[in-house]
Amino acid sequence: DAGITQSPRYKITETGRQVTLMCHQTWSHSYMFWYRQDLGHGLRLIYYSAAADITDKGEVPDGYVVSRSKTENFPLTLESATRSQTSVYFCASSEGAGGLLDTQYFGPGTRLTVL
């Protein structure tokens, strides 16, 4: 299927466990992004990637690790999950020609609960 997909859609884990959220896009977009959305807040950028093997920190990178070995995939790992990381996580991609805020296409989101 064309587009941008995230997996899993829902995840419950325990404090201290490692969790990886997957993001896959089929457009060969250069840029990919990870955001978190908490109640009462807009989206906050965790990490972004301008191309394979190039990643940069966003506003709230602490506690997260990303990699991008292939253009189409951008996994986000919580190395030791904490309750404060309970959130909805969105992945997005864009061509990036207009900067970070070039037209972004969002995945459906992953709702993560850390107990």
Binding site: G40, G42, L43, E59, G99, L100, L101, D102
Partner: protein
């Protein structure tokens, strides 16, 4: 980092009414975008508008970069317009921030 404030935080309209949503930002920006998040959580770009005015159907947006604000106009609102509207800004140093959003409810 740059501060982004959206107003009003909540807005309730009758179907057919018009509305104006505002986004103020604290510093000069290179880019600005408006997004809509529908009640099911899906996020969609509306306008990429670092300056000037754009229109798309019943929606239009204006950004006055020198005065550090942007406006989103919704005319003849429909129930499908309900959801949360976010603006996001980007500075030259790749600092990107979203506002907290305006939650719009359109009643039939």
């Amino acid at each position: 980092g740059i501060q982004v404030e959206q107003s009003p935080p909540d807005l309730i309209l009758q179907e057919g009414a018009n509305s104006t949503l505002r986004c103020n930002f604290s510093d000069s920006v290179n880019n600005l975008q408006w997004f809509h998040q529908n009640p099911w959580g899906q996020l969609i770009n509306l306008f990429y508008i670092p300056s000037g005015t754009k229109q798309n159907g019943r929606l239009s947006a204006t950004t006055v970069a020198t005065e550090r604000y942007s406006l989103l106009y919704i005319s003849s609102s429909q129930t499908t317009d309900s959801g949360v509207y976010f603006c996001a800004v980007e500075r030259s140093n790749n600092d990107m921030r979203f506002g907290a959003g305006t939650r719009l409810t359109v009643k039939p």
